[in-house]
């Protein structure tokens, strides 16, 4: 099967505008004839559901949490980018486009990224009109701050809780549609399979997590907005429930999974404190605006951090990257921290972190300003670490945070399966090999508020006056039987190990061999060991209880089963990509000074993988990336 990205013709700046005109419409009176399923209620799914509901479509929305307001977008701290140029500092749509392409290490589609930059300005307007309480200047205007990877101030924020406020905006718009009757909400429901008929997505199978009931839902289109797969590493900044199950089950039904090896390690997280650790906590990247990162020059320095004089500190980012300094992109900052710790310069009792120090900023701005900007983050840090960041530097270390890979989609955000759309972090489309800070919120809302509502009409219009597919068809019966069988298989072994130990072991394998740095031998080892682990899981997992009531172990087991398959694909993708780019760093491919070495001649493509069965090598399909508007160069932040 050839992959058609369906990028519109014409100059870059006009593609989206002309595409909107050329895409078929569904007239208002016809919209109520269409059923649309949306899975996930984060920024992408929540905003899409609200908007499609407003437009008059019949929407069913599913989330595994007890309320759509709890989706993990809520935890995003720092901000959302938009090319408003309110600061008059030379920003523009083109500059945001360029920064995002460059930040993604030239592995994203130009046309998608330009559309994202164009839409960014509308998102801010939309959110303001909904009442999102963005930070304001004293004159009443919107405030901005700068963020990693950019030399302009284009980030809008609501203290350290931007994701929360944007999500509540989308959630409230969604609840308004639920009240109006255009959207039906299914909370505490998990999608366990995609149903396809003749290669087309026609519905989903869900499990009601409270009653255990297995249900069939059909629609004219299915939209997955189910987030990323960072929890394959067990420890990540993702919520505990974040999972790849919906996307993975769609993959097993034929949807291609693209660039799974592009995973983002966030440079500023609180280091691990013990093996009971259940998740990692991010300290917003915005802290790098005012915090300075350093390690002692002497790796055996035993003094308390505040006793180490300036002359004995190595502000290594400022030293190596003078022009971006502490604001280099995430992948660059993360690898630099890893090198310091690997070389023995780590700080803290486990020597597993580097310092993020606010002394200079506290002196320059005063405690009040720092509290205003970062108060909640400082409190969170103090709470978790038991240390006071106002009087001693924070300790930070990189952690898995975001996944750029995801289901392959074309320009319309439709997967290779007609009728299946994928939004937000769940797709692969806009961030290339590395996502810029404050761009995840932008993409989620761009996809949900503005892109999908246009492009889904183009697909639905082909099915006008066709009823939603019957849920009695062989495809639905078969899919439901498959789901029931899998649940039984998980409950049957009553083996010797619970789910978490399997998940932890998978996480260790992925972190050790497919984390911040990767090499051929390690990846080959990981593929073998994950395969063995998966087989042990299915024969030896202990899931107690039954499938007919709330059973959190059973939920976890189903998700870990999918992570075990995904982990293998992630390693296969990382093994095949014989270059370094963005978040994918192959030790064999680096410049003499240790930076990522791309191979544009051989790898300027998106790798879309086709499923061949658990443990079987997947089949590669390539979408060549064509760069007509930017010149491919080695990224330099020096």
């Amino acid at each position: 099967m050839t992959l058609n990205s369906n990028i519109p013709e014409g100059p870059l700046e006009e593609k989206w505008t002309s595409h909107k005109f050329n895409t078929k419409l569904v007239a208002p009176q016809n919209r109520r004839k269409f059923e649309v399923i949306i899975v996930g209620t984060g920024l992408a799914g929540g905003s899409a559901a609200a908007t499609l509901g407003e437009m008059g479509y019949n929407v069913k929305v599913f989330c595994f949490q007890d309320s759509p307001r709890r989706a993990h977008s809520i935890a995003a701290q720092g901000g959302i980018n938009a090319a408003k140029n309110y600061k008059n500092d030379g920003d523009s749509v083109h500059r945001l486009f360029y920064d995002t392409i460059k930040g993604g290490d030239y592995r994203a589609r130009e046309a998608n990224v330009h559309r994202l930059a164009e839409i960014s300005v509308q998102i801010i307007d939309q959110c303001v009109s909904q009442g999102v309480p963005f930070a304001r200047e004293y004159g009443g205007l919107l405030d901005n701050r700068s963020f990693g990877g950019a030399q302009v101030s284009r980030t809008f924020y609501a203290r350290g809780q931007t994701g929360q406020q944007l999500l509540l905006g989308a959630y409230q718009a969604l609840e308004r549609q639920i009240d109006a009757g255009s959207v039906k909400m299914y909370a505490r429901h998990e999608m366990l399979d995609l149903v396809t008929e003749n290669g087309r997505a026609v519905g989903i199978i869900t499990r009601d997590l409270v009653s255990g009931q297995i249900e069939r839902h059909s629609a004219h289109a299915v939209v997955l907005a189910t987030g990323g797969y960072g929890n394959v590493f067990y420890l990540s900044t993702n919520a505990k429930g974040s999972n790849v199950t919906a996307a993975w089950r769609a993959h097993k039904k034929g949807a291609y999974f693209a660039n799974p090896c592009y995973t983002q390690i966030h440079p500023t997280c609180i280091p691990v404190s013990g093996d009971y650790q259940s998740k990692l906590t991010l300290m917003s990247e915005s802290l790098r605006n005012d915090g300075r990162i350093w390690v002692p020059k002497d790796k055996n320095d035993k003094r308390a951090p505040d006793q180490i004089p300036e002359a004995d500190r190595d502000y290594y980012l400022e030293r190596i990257y003078p022009s971006f300094a502490n604001l280099v992109p995430r992948d660059v900052a993360s690898r630099a921290a890893k090198r310091m710790v690997d070389d023995g310069y780590g700080v803290g009792s486990l020597k597993n972190g580097v310092h993020l120090d606010f002394k200079t900023a506290l002196h320059r701005l005063g405690r009040n300003v720092i509290e205003q900007r970062y108060g909640n983050l400082f409190d969170m840090y103090a709470n978790i670490s038991g240390e006071d960041p106002y009087t001693q530097p924070m300790r930070i270390y990189p952690a898995v945070h975001y996944t750029m890979g995801g289901l392959w989609v074309d320009y319309n955000l439709m997967s290779n399966l007609p009728g299946l759309f994928v939004l937000g972090e769940a797709n692969f489309s806009d961030h290339g090999a590395n996502r810029m800070g404050a761009s995840a919120l932008m993409q989620g809302l761009a996809d949900g508020y503005f892109v999908l509502p246009t492009t889904i009409a183009g697909e639905l219009a082909n099915h006008l006056n066709q009823p939603a597919p019957s849920t009695d068809s062989a495809a639905f019966v078969e899919a439901e039987a498959g789901v029931r069988e899998q649940i039984n298989r998980l409950l049957t072994p009553r083996g010797t190990r619970s789910v978490d130990p399997f998940h932890k072991e998978l996480g260790h394998l992925c972190w050790d061999y497919c984390g911040m740095a990767r090499n051929k031998a390690g990846l080959e080892t990981a593929i073998k060991e994950i395969d063995t682990l998966r087989q042990e899981f299915w024969s030896d997992v202990r899931v107690l209880g039954n499938g007919e009531s709330l059973n959190q172990s059973l939920e976890k087991a189903g998700r870990v089963a999918d992570f075990l398959e995904l982990g293998q694909l992630m390693c296969q993708d990382a093994l095949h990509r014989e270059e370094s780019c963005g978040g994918h760093f192959r030790e064999e491919h680096q410049t003499p000074d240790g930076e990522a070495q791309r191979d544009d001649e051989n790898f300027a493509y998106a790798a879309a993988w086709e499923y061949n069965g658990a443990g079987k090598s997947a089949t590669l399909h390539k979408e060549e990336l064509v760069f007509e508007n930017v010149h491919l160069a080695q990224r330099s932040y020096k």
């Binding site: 905003s47 007890d66 809520i74 307007d125 009109s129 409230q172 009240d179 038991g386 709330l550």
Partner: protein, 262 residues
């Protein structure tokens, strides 16, 4: 430092089960663990003994999603102020402590299983009016609406509510005032929220009263709130509700425009 504890945990198989306390004695609990990580350890022990683990809601484990929340020694989210259960660390306890763990206690939040409750009444209040009608695409430039910083800041303080339900669990009357008032303050303070201010207030308060008890100013809600939402917002809600009731009836009810137009 590690702790040895005596844990009394509420176990209830389902909504119709009577429920009872069960006692566990976790040992060697690291003081750097979060409360939920301590429960993880207890659960792993239970599974090892072929006993079903304790069900509890949790997700982000960084204090923002509002999923978690249990009553610890009679206090929602436990002894530390301004802290969700997931952000409560075991260094706040001493070795030898007895800790009682219960679900939110409120008839408005029925128990689903063990420590998991149904908080969908909160969503019903937001459905009733906790929004600004701003369909996608119609917005004007964000900077055309000037919002003085103190107003934006106050709206933010109210909007910081995470919807966990601790306020209801803490209230002797099981009132939902703090949650409702916080959302009303967020939207009613902002210029964008003015057109629907009065209808929103009436709709949300009336829905709240269908589900929750009445407020008699115990202020336990404010003390339990992990985000420090102020009860001053309740006073503001009451003022707005009174004003709305005095206003022209036509502006307090939704006007059906679905049949209008040509």
């Amino acid at each position: 430092m590690s702790l040895n504890l005596l844990l009394k945990v509420w176990r209830q198989n389902g909504p119709n089960d009577e429920g009872r306390f069960e006692t566990y004695s976790p040992n060697d609990i690291d003081e750097d663990m979060s409360f939920l990580e301590m429960l993880d350890v207890v659960n792993e022990d239970l599974i090892a003994q072929n006993k079903e683990p304790i069900a509890f809601d949790h997700d982000c484990r960084e204090g923002i999603c509002g999923s978690c929340g249990v009553v610890i020694n009679g206090v929602p989210h436990g002894p530390k102020k301004m802290t969700t259960t997931c952000q409560l660390h075991m260094r706040n306890f001493k070795s030898g402590d007895t800790i009682t763990v219960e679900p939110w206690r409120s008839t408005s939040f029925p128990v689903i299983k063990d420590l998991v409750v149904d908080r969908s009444a909160f969503d019903a209040i937001i459905q009733a009016g906790g929004h600004i009608a701003a369909p996608t695409g119609a917005a004007r430039d964000g900077n055309e609406i000037l919002i003085p910083k103190p107003v934006a800041d106050q709206a933010f303080e109210a909007a910081a509510c995470i919807g966990c339900g601790a306020c209801v669990a803490a209230c002797p009357n099981g009132a939902g005032q703090l949650f409702t008032a916080a959302k009303l303050a967020h939207l009613n303070l902002l210029p964008q929220g003015q057109p629907e201010r009065w209808s929103r207030t009436v709709a949300m308060v009336d829905t709240m009263e269908e589900y929750f008890g009445s407020c008699t100013n115990y202020a336990e809600c404010e003390a339990a709130c992990p985000k420090g939402i102020s009860i001053d917002f309740i006073a503001k809600m009451n003022r707005d509700y009174l004003k709305a009731k005095f206003k022209d009836k036509r502006s307090t009810t939704k006007i059906d425009t679905s049949e209008a137009g040509g």
